[in-house]
Protein backbone atom coordinates (compact mmCIF):
# COMPACT_ATOMS: atom_id res chain seq x y z
CA UNK A 1 0.00 0.00 0.00
CA UNK A 2 1.39 3.39 -0.93
CA UNK A 3 2.30 5.74 1.90
CA UNK A 4 0.35 8.97 1.97
CA UNK A 5 2.97 11.52 3.00
CA UNK A 6 0.46 14.36 2.80
CA UNK A 7 -1.62 12.85 5.61
CA UNK A 8 0.13 12.99 9.01
CA UNK A 9 -2.38 10.48 10.46
CA UNK A 10 -1.71 7.89 7.77
CA UNK A 11 1.06 6.11 9.68
CA UNK A 12 -1.15 5.43 12.71
CA UNK A 13 -4.66 5.30 11.33
CA UNK A 14 -4.21 3.72 7.91
CA UNK A 15 -5.89 0.30 7.68
CA UNK A 16 -2.63 -1.61 7.38
CA UNK A 17 -2.79 -4.91 9.20
CA UNK A 18 0.80 -4.58 10.39
CA UNK A 19 0.25 -1.06 11.67
CA UNK A 20 0.50 -0.56 15.44
CA UNK A 21 -3.03 0.72 15.96
CA UNK A 22 -4.64 -1.95 13.78
CA UNK A 23 -2.77 -4.76 15.55
CA UNK A 24 -3.68 -3.35 18.95
CA UNK A 25 -7.34 -2.97 18.07
CA UNK A 26 -7.71 -6.38 16.41
CA UNK A 27 -6.13 -8.07 19.41
CA UNK A 28 -8.38 -6.18 21.80
CA UNK A 29 -11.48 -6.89 19.72
CA UNK A 30 -10.59 -10.58 19.71
CA UNK A 31 -9.95 -10.77 23.45
CA UNK A 32 -13.13 -8.89 24.39
CA UNK A 33 -15.25 -11.00 22.03
CA UNK A 34 -13.60 -14.07 23.53
CA UNK A 35 -14.30 -12.92 27.06
CA UNK A 36 -17.96 -12.33 26.12
CA UNK A 37 -18.38 -15.95 25.02
CA UNK A 38 -16.17 -17.39 27.75
CA UNK A 39 -18.26 -15.64 30.40
CA UNK A 40 -21.50 -16.85 28.80
CA UNK A 41 -20.21 -20.42 28.69
CA UNK A 42 -18.43 -20.72 31.99
CA UNK A 43 -21.36 -19.31 33.98
CA UNK A 44 -23.58 -21.98 32.41
CA UNK A 45 -21.00 -24.60 33.35
CA UNK A 46 -20.91 -23.31 36.93
CA UNK A 47 -24.70 -23.30 37.23
CA UNK A 48 -25.72 -26.38 35.23
CA UNK A 49 -22.54 -28.26 34.43
CA UNK A 50 -22.86 -30.21 31.20
CA UNK A 51 -26.63 -30.53 31.54
CA UNK A 52 -27.76 -27.18 30.14
CA UNK A 53 -31.34 -28.26 29.44
CA UNK A 54 -32.44 -24.78 28.28
CA UNK A 55 -30.35 -25.27 25.12
CA UNK A 56 -32.51 -28.00 23.56
CA UNK A 57 -35.68 -26.25 24.82
CA UNK A 58 -34.61 -23.00 23.13
CA UNK A 59 -34.15 -24.78 19.82
CA UNK A 60 -37.44 -26.65 20.11
CA UNK A 61 -39.16 -23.25 20.29
CA UNK A 62 -37.44 -21.93 17.15
CA UNK A 63 -40.41 -22.42 14.89
CA UNK A 64 -41.06 -20.34 11.78
CA UNK A 65 -37.47 -19.19 11.31
CA UNK A 66 -35.44 -18.91 8.12
CA UNK A 67 -33.81 -22.23 8.99
CA UNK A 68 -37.15 -24.02 8.65
CA UNK A 69 -37.53 -27.18 10.72
CA UNK A 70 -33.78 -27.66 11.30
CA UNK A 71 -33.46 -26.04 14.77
CA UNK A 72 -36.61 -27.76 16.06
CA UNK A 73 -35.38 -31.10 14.73
CA UNK A 74 -32.01 -30.49 16.41
CA UNK A 75 -33.71 -29.58 19.69
CA UNK A 76 -35.76 -32.77 19.58
CA UNK A 77 -33.07 -35.18 18.39
CA UNK A 78 -29.71 -33.72 19.35
CA UNK A 79 -30.46 -32.75 22.95
CA UNK A 80 -27.68 -35.15 24.04
CA UNK A 81 -25.22 -32.95 22.13
CA UNK A 82 -26.76 -29.50 22.67
CA UNK A 83 -27.16 -29.71 26.46
CA UNK A 84 -23.42 -30.19 27.12
CA UNK A 85 -22.34 -28.56 23.84
CA UNK A 86 -23.69 -25.06 24.43
CA UNK A 87 -21.77 -24.32 27.66
CA UNK A 88 -18.72 -26.32 26.58
CA UNK A 89 -18.35 -24.80 23.11
CA UNK A 90 -19.12 -21.28 24.31
CA UNK A 91 -16.36 -21.66 26.90
CA UNK A 92 -13.88 -23.18 24.43
CA UNK A 93 -14.64 -20.60 21.74
CA UNK A 94 -14.08 -17.85 24.32
CA UNK A 95 -10.79 -19.36 25.52
CA UNK A 96 -9.57 -19.87 21.95
CA UNK A 97 -10.30 -16.27 21.02
CA UNK A 98 -8.71 -14.86 24.14
CA UNK A 99 -5.57 -16.93 23.58
CA UNK A 100 -5.67 -16.34 19.85
CA UNK A 101 -5.36 -20.07 19.18
CA UNK A 102 -7.30 -21.75 16.35
CA UNK A 103 -8.93 -18.36 16.05
CA UNK A 104 -10.66 -18.86 12.72
CA UNK A 105 -12.04 -22.28 13.67
CA UNK A 106 -13.36 -20.84 16.93
CA UNK A 107 -14.83 -17.87 15.07
CA UNK A 108 -16.73 -20.19 12.73
CA UNK A 109 -18.28 -21.72 15.86
CA UNK A 110 -19.10 -18.24 17.12
CA UNK A 111 -20.78 -17.34 13.83
CA UNK A 112 -22.94 -20.49 14.03
CA UNK A 113 -23.94 -19.69 17.63
CA UNK A 114 -24.73 -16.06 16.86
CA UNK A 115 -26.75 -16.97 13.76
CA UNK A 116 -28.94 -19.22 15.90
CA UNK A 117 -29.26 -16.53 18.61
CA UNK A 118 -30.02 -13.84 16.02
CA UNK A 119 -32.92 -15.67 14.40
CA UNK A 120 -33.96 -17.48 17.60
CA UNK A 121 -34.24 -14.35 19.76
CA UNK A 122 -35.74 -12.45 16.81
CA UNK A 123 -35.45 -9.19 18.74
CA UNK A 124 -36.13 -7.05 15.71
CA UNK A 125 -38.12 -4.30 17.43
CA UNK A 126 -35.40 -1.77 16.63
CA UNK A 127 -34.52 -3.25 13.24
CA UNK A 128 -32.81 -6.29 11.81
CA UNK A 129 -29.39 -5.06 12.94
CA UNK A 130 -29.44 -5.77 16.66
CA UNK A 131 -26.86 -6.80 19.25
CA UNK A 132 -27.03 -10.45 18.13
CA UNK A 133 -26.17 -9.52 14.54
CA UNK A 134 -23.41 -7.20 15.78
CA UNK A 135 -21.98 -10.14 17.74
CA UNK A 136 -22.12 -12.23 14.58
CA UNK A 137 -20.28 -9.48 12.71
CA UNK A 138 -17.62 -9.36 15.44
CA UNK A 139 -16.88 -13.05 14.92
CA UNK A 140 -16.88 -12.54 11.14
CA UNK A 141 -14.38 -9.70 11.52
CA UNK A 142 -12.09 -11.79 13.73
CA UNK A 143 -12.40 -14.65 11.21
CA UNK A 144 -11.82 -12.61 8.06
CA UNK A 145 -8.85 -10.66 9.43
CA UNK A 146 -7.24 -13.63 11.17
CA UNK A 147 -7.05 -11.67 14.42
CA UNK A 148 -5.21 -14.48 16.23
CA UNK A 149 -2.02 -13.35 14.49
CA UNK A 150 -1.98 -10.17 16.50
CA UNK A 151 -0.60 -10.82 19.99
CA UNK A 152 -2.16 -14.30 19.78
CA UNK A 153 -0.74 -17.82 19.85
CA UNK A 154 -1.62 -18.40 16.20
CA UNK A 155 1.25 -16.06 15.31
CA UNK A 156 3.60 -18.62 16.89
CA UNK A 157 1.79 -21.71 15.64
CA UNK A 158 1.86 -20.42 12.07
CA UNK A 159 5.67 -20.36 12.22
CA UNK A 160 5.91 -24.09 13.01
CA UNK A 161 7.13 -26.60 10.45
CA UNK A 162 3.77 -28.35 10.51
CA UNK A 163 1.93 -25.25 9.29
CA UNK A 164 4.66 -24.44 6.79
CA UNK A 165 4.29 -27.98 5.39
CA UNK A 166 0.48 -27.71 5.40
CA UNK A 167 -0.26 -24.02 4.73
CA UNK A 168 -3.98 -24.70 4.49
CA UNK A 169 -4.00 -25.03 8.27
CA UNK A 170 -3.99 -21.23 8.18
CA UNK A 171 -7.65 -21.43 7.20
CA UNK A 172 -8.45 -22.54 10.75
CA UNK A 173 -5.61 -20.67 12.48
CA UNK A 174 -4.96 -16.94 12.15
Amino acid sequence: MATNTANPLATNFEVELDGPLTSYWLALLRVITGWWFFHAGVTKLIEDGLAYSYGPMYMQEMTGTALGPIPVWMGNNLAWLIAPGVPLFETLIGLALMAGLLTRLASIGGVIFMTLFWIGNAGFGHGLVNSDLMGLLLFMTVLVLGAGRYYGLDAIVEQTKLVKRHPKLRYILG
Partner: protein, 97 residues
Protein backbone atom coordinates in the same frame (compact mmCIF):
# COMPACT_ATOMS: atom_id res chain seq x y z
CA UNK B 1 0.74 -6.95 -3.08
CA UNK B 2 -0.07 -9.62 -5.64
CA UNK B 3 -3.76 -10.02 -6.48
CA UNK B 4 -4.49 -13.74 -6.24
CA UNK B 5 -8.28 -13.49 -6.48
CA UNK B 6 -9.86 -15.72 -9.08
CA UNK B 7 -13.17 -15.40 -10.87
CA UNK B 8 -14.66 -17.82 -8.32
CA UNK B 9 -13.48 -15.59 -5.47
CA UNK B 10 -14.99 -12.53 -7.11
CA UNK B 11 -18.32 -14.24 -7.76
CA UNK B 12 -18.53 -15.63 -4.22
CA UNK B 13 -17.61 -12.34 -2.52
CA UNK B 14 -19.80 -10.32 -4.88
CA UNK B 15 -22.82 -12.59 -4.42
CA UNK B 16 -22.39 -12.73 -0.65
CA UNK B 17 -21.95 -8.98 -0.39
CA UNK B 18 -24.98 -8.37 -2.58
CA UNK B 19 -27.11 -10.68 -0.43
CA UNK B 20 -25.95 -8.94 2.80
CA UNK B 21 -26.79 -5.52 1.39
CA UNK B 22 -30.11 -6.71 -0.07
CA UNK B 23 -31.32 -8.36 3.16
CA UNK B 24 -30.18 -5.62 5.53
CA UNK B 25 -29.99 -2.30 3.69
CA UNK B 26 -32.22 -2.47 0.60
CA UNK B 27 -35.09 -4.23 2.35
CA UNK B 28 -34.52 -1.96 5.37
CA UNK B 29 -35.05 1.08 3.15
CA UNK B 30 -38.25 -0.47 1.77
CA UNK B 31 -39.46 -1.02 5.36
CA UNK B 32 -38.79 2.64 6.13
CA UNK B 33 -40.60 3.84 3.02
CA UNK B 34 -43.61 1.64 3.84
CA UNK B 35 -44.07 3.49 7.14
CA UNK B 36 -44.75 2.01 10.56
CA UNK B 37 -43.46 -0.19 12.15
CA UNK B 38 -40.23 0.74 10.28
CA UNK B 39 -38.64 -2.49 11.50
CA UNK B 40 -39.34 -6.20 10.96
CA UNK B 41 -41.44 -6.61 14.13
CA UNK B 42 -45.17 -5.98 14.49
CA UNK B 43 -46.19 -2.84 16.37
CA UNK B 44 -48.74 -3.28 19.16
CA UNK B 45 -50.77 -0.86 21.25
CA UNK B 46 -51.08 -0.89 25.03
CA UNK B 47 -53.82 -3.52 24.81
CA UNK B 48 -51.51 -5.80 22.87
CA UNK B 49 -53.37 -5.50 19.57
CA UNK B 50 -51.21 -5.46 16.46
CA UNK B 51 -51.59 -2.04 14.84
CA UNK B 52 -48.88 -2.29 12.17
CA UNK B 53 -47.16 -5.25 10.56
CA UNK B 54 -43.82 -5.21 8.75
CA UNK B 55 -43.85 -4.92 4.97
CA UNK B 56 -41.38 -7.79 4.58
CA UNK B 57 -41.44 -10.96 6.65
CA UNK B 58 -38.31 -11.02 8.84
CA UNK B 59 -37.92 -14.69 7.92
CA UNK B 60 -37.18 -13.62 4.34
CA UNK B 61 -34.68 -10.96 5.39
CA UNK B 62 -32.86 -13.21 7.87
CA UNK B 63 -32.94 -15.97 5.27
CA UNK B 64 -31.18 -13.74 2.74
CA UNK B 65 -28.49 -12.85 5.30
CA UNK B 66 -28.04 -16.53 6.18
CA UNK B 67 -27.74 -17.27 2.45
CA UNK B 68 -24.95 -14.67 2.31
CA UNK B 69 -23.17 -16.45 5.17
CA UNK B 70 -23.68 -19.81 3.45
CA UNK B 71 -22.11 -18.48 0.24
CA UNK B 72 -19.05 -17.49 2.29
CA UNK B 73 -19.04 -20.91 3.99
CA UNK B 74 -19.19 -22.76 0.67
CA UNK B 75 -16.48 -20.48 -0.72
CA UNK B 76 -14.33 -21.24 2.33
CA UNK B 77 -14.83 -24.97 1.80
CA UNK B 78 -13.94 -24.53 -1.88
CA UNK B 79 -10.73 -22.73 -0.93
CA UNK B 80 -9.91 -25.57 1.43
CA UNK B 81 -10.10 -28.26 -1.26
CA UNK B 82 -8.48 -26.36 -4.13
CA UNK B 83 -4.72 -25.75 -4.38
CA UNK B 84 -3.50 -22.52 -2.82
CA UNK B 85 -1.95 -19.90 -5.08
CA UNK B 86 1.39 -20.49 -3.36
CA UNK B 87 1.06 -24.25 -3.93
CA UNK B 88 0.66 -23.62 -7.64
CA UNK B 89 3.68 -21.28 -7.59
CA UNK B 90 5.75 -23.92 -5.78
CA UNK B 91 4.84 -26.50 -8.36
CA UNK B 92 5.72 -24.11 -11.16
CA UNK B 93 9.20 -23.66 -9.71
CA UNK B 94 9.97 -27.38 -9.52
CA UNK B 95 12.79 -28.43 -11.79
CA UNK B 96 12.00 -30.92 -14.53
CA UNK B 97 13.76 -34.28 -14.49
Amino acid sequence: MTDTTTIVDRIALGLSGALFVLGIVVMGVLELLAGKPYSPAPLTNDAGDVIATPLIDPTLRTGIVIAALLVLAVWGAYKLVTPMATDAADRAEMAAD
